[in-house]
């Protein structure tokens, strides 16, 4: 294993982590602030990807596509919050799971009505394709670097929003004592709607960003949703900082597991099954990590209710 390859794989892990962070930031805020489990978060990711593919196809501009993914998911989030989610805050988690699961089915069927059952494909615009050289002789695709940079910028932006602004202060206050902040005369309903739309927009942006790497299809959100749930459980529910750390952790563990497990296993086992065994083990590594962390810290790495 050369240093160049290692660096490349680290970047791969970081890039996966950043995609997960965009997904889980909204999920953890919604869970932490409103106490709501939103299974339909993956559908918002899908909406972002479809909006991006649609607008990019219409206008030939990927930048507009990204914007459309961000805004489209935000608008969808706004509508969903007002129509459905608002009625769920006071219900227990089981009702929330049921209702948001129904949302997944409705949004998936609706999307295949509008866009048809076949997947859509999007190409990276020429000015973002290609790769740049890394130290030690490796190279890395520019587009994936862009995802990392956007992820870091969003993380910084969220940090500023939550720690430096009035809205952020209210969000934090809402997390720690819902009744009190309402009693103090803060319009908690609007804050809830804003937080939900912001989370939706970030999920939509994640979907739009990966739409050029993967195929855009109905049901693309659910596998990512599962990983995002793992991330927010590891990071501590409600904590954006926790979501950032856990996303990078999950991204790196998943990536480096796929890289090193075959080598490590072949030290112990010496036959043809190493390839299949390491593939199977690599796919559950993230869940093993979650189990280990929960055994030591059941509240997650950065719980807001410490």
């Amino acid at each position: 294993m050369t240093a160049a390859l290692f660096l490349e794989q680290l970047l791969n892990g970081l890039q996966l982590g950043m995609t997960l962070f965009l997904m889980s930031a909204g999920l953890t805020l919604v869970f932490g602030v409103m106490g709501l489990i939103n299974l339909a978060h993956g559908s918002l990711y899908m909406i972002g990807a479809f909006c991006c593919a649609w607008i990019t196809g219409l206008t030939d501009s990927f930048i507009l596509g990204l914007l459309a993914g961000f805004c489209g998911a935000a608008i969808a989030g706004l509508i969903i919050e007002v129509l459905v989610i608002r009625r769920l805050y006071k219900r227990d988690h089981l009702d929330q799971v049921l209702a948001t699961f129904a949302l997944i089915l409705i949004i998936s069927e609706g999307t295949s009505w509008i866009f048809g059952p076949s997947p859509l494909y999007l190409s990276i615009p020429p000015w973002l394709s290609g790769s740049i050289p890394l130290f030690g002789g490796g190279s890395y695709p520019i587009y994936r670097l862009l995802i990392i940079i956007i992820g870091l910028l969003i993380a910084f932006g969220l940090y500023l929003l939550i720690t430096k602004t009035r809205l952020g202060m209210r969000i934090r206050a809402g997390e720690s004592d819902r009744e009190m902040i309402a009693a103090l005369g803060v319009d908690i309903r609007t804050i809830y709607t804003l937080v939900f739309a912001l989370g939706a927009a970030l999920a939509g942006l994640a979907g739009a960003l990966v739409s050029t790497l993967y195929s855009v299809e109905v049901g693309m959100g659910e596998p990512v949703l599962i990983l995002a749930l793992v991330v927010i459980v590891i990071g501590g529910i409600g904590s954006v900082k926790g979501a950032l750390v856990a996303s990078i952790l999950v991204g790196l563990v998943d990536t480096l597991g796929r890289v090193f497990l075959p080598n490590i296993l072949s030290l112990f086992i010496n036959n043809d099954d190493v390839a299949t065994l390491s593939a199977s083990l690599a796919s559950v590594l993230v869940y093993i990590l979650m189990a280990l962390i929960l055994a030591v810290r059941p509240q997650g790495l950065f719980s807001i209710h410490d």
């Binding site: 490349e8 996966l16 295949s112 076949s118 997947p119 190279s139 695709p141 993967y214 075959p262 299949t276």
Partner: protein, 385 residues
């Protein structure tokens, strides 16, 4: 009194039996075919091509006594089983066909053929059905899963590849694929990786390939997985040549992969430039009907229908023994050229190596050599038929 009622019952039963046999003899004129195929989700383009090829052959035939029922399995084994049960029990179909994916095929075919329904596979050919699990009612008009990979392994030798990096999804057909490649490939395996089924991001594997020092890459990633891999591979700037079976480089998929696939060598039992009458007729009729070029899946669907039609000329589907014998004779002109069934009802055929080219604005394939001649699968010897 007792006697009387018994005879009355007897009378009414015999009348109804007569009625049933009468209606059955009327129904026997119509051959019912149930098509279970994937028309939604990631593998939908494959199912649609099989369906379109099949329907084209029915339309071109003068036999109008064939009724085709089509249902979408959504690539879900449970749904495929459900549809098969409905086709067999409620619709009483004579023939089943259409399944694209091997895991669905394994869920449906073994139990269907035991109920004495004929199954004609236009695609999936898992090894389990070609060896010990072969059945007189189960026919495959496409290939055994390993075949195209074996042809690529053979090609890699002749192209002088000495060190190939191989990858496939971690499921039975993926293992069949890499086994098939290694069965013929004589060089060194630079790395062997199984990815998660349905995996979309191949950054890790691509970085490993670039650093492995391999002189070639062989991959089997059907449907959307292959498109994602090829797009990401070309973005990575790697110059190691890739090759694979036709599945990731076929007509329906190439437009989505785009220029990334230009020059890639892939193996197929059919291509649109094969020089025979049946193929010219097929390609022209398909383009006229659907305004697009046919894919290998379309040719397989077309062959499945023509195989059935050819057998129906000799025997009705209700006369199982005669109908099976007529199917086995494979007395039809396939666009792929020479075609016959081996002892296990899987094809013995030539497999070609193709190269992805651009014709005008359209990405397509041309044949550059013959990968394997009169090739039969490795499992036929385990089949007791």
């Amino acid at each position: 009194m007792k006697v009387f009622s018994t005879s009355k019952v007897l009378l009414s039963t015999s009348i109804s039996a007569l009625l049933i046999s009468f209606s059955a003899s009327v129904a026997a004129d119509i051959t019912k075919i149930g098509m279970i195929t994937t028309l939604s989700g990631g593998g939908s383009s494959l199912g649609k091509d099989v369906r379109d090829g099949f329907q084209l052959a029915l339309k071109m035939s003068d036999n109008k006594d064939v009724e085709l029922l089509i249902e979408d399995d959504g690539r879900k084994p449970a749904k495929a089983v459900q549809i098969a049960d409905k086709f067999i029990q409620k619709d009483k179909v004579d023939i089943l066909t259409g399944i694209i994916f091997s895991n669905l095929a394994m869920a449906v075919i073994p139990s269907a053929v035991k109920k004495d329904v004929i199954y004609i596979s236009p695609n999936a050919g898992p090894s389990a059905l070609a060896g010990k699990g072969c059945h007189k009612n189960s026919f495959n008009v496409a290939w055994q899963n390993d075949n195209l990979h074996e042809a690529m392994g053979n090609y890699a030798n002749s192209a002088g590849h000495k060190s190939t990096y191989i990858l496939a999804p971690n499921y039975p057909a993926g293992k069949d694929a890499l086994t098939g490649y290694k069965r013929f490939y004589k060089g060194k395996v630079a790395g062997e990786v199984y990815t998660k089924l349905g995996q979309k991001d191949y950054a890790v594997e691509i970085s490993k390939i670039k650093a492995s020092g391999a002189d070639s890459v062989f991959f089997f990633l059907p449907g959307g997985m292959g498109i994602a891999f090829m797009k990401q591979y070309s973005q990575s700037g790697s110059t190691i040549p890739v090759m694979g079976p036709a599945f990731s480089f076929d007509q329906g998929i190439l437009q989505a992969v785009g220029a990334a696939a230009l020059g890639v060598k892939n193996s197929s039992q059919w291509n649109k430039d094969l020089d025979n009458e049946a193929n010219k007729t097929f390609v022209a009729a398909y383009q006229k009907e659907y305004s697009r070029l046919p894919s290998l899946y379309a040719s397989q669907g077309y062959d499945a229908a023509n195989l059935i039609l050819s057998a129906l000329k000799k025997a009705p589907a209700s006369d199982k023994d005669a109908f099976r014998a007529a199917l086995k004779a494979a007395d039809f002109a396939s666009p792929r050229g020479d075609f016959k069934f081996g002892n296990n009802n899987f094809p013995i055929q030539d497999i070609y190596v193709r190269e992805v080219i651009k014709e005008g604005d359209i990405f397509t394939n041309k044949i550059i050599s013959k990968g394997l001649e009169n090739h039969q699968d490795a499992y036929a010897k385990d089949c007791a038929m």
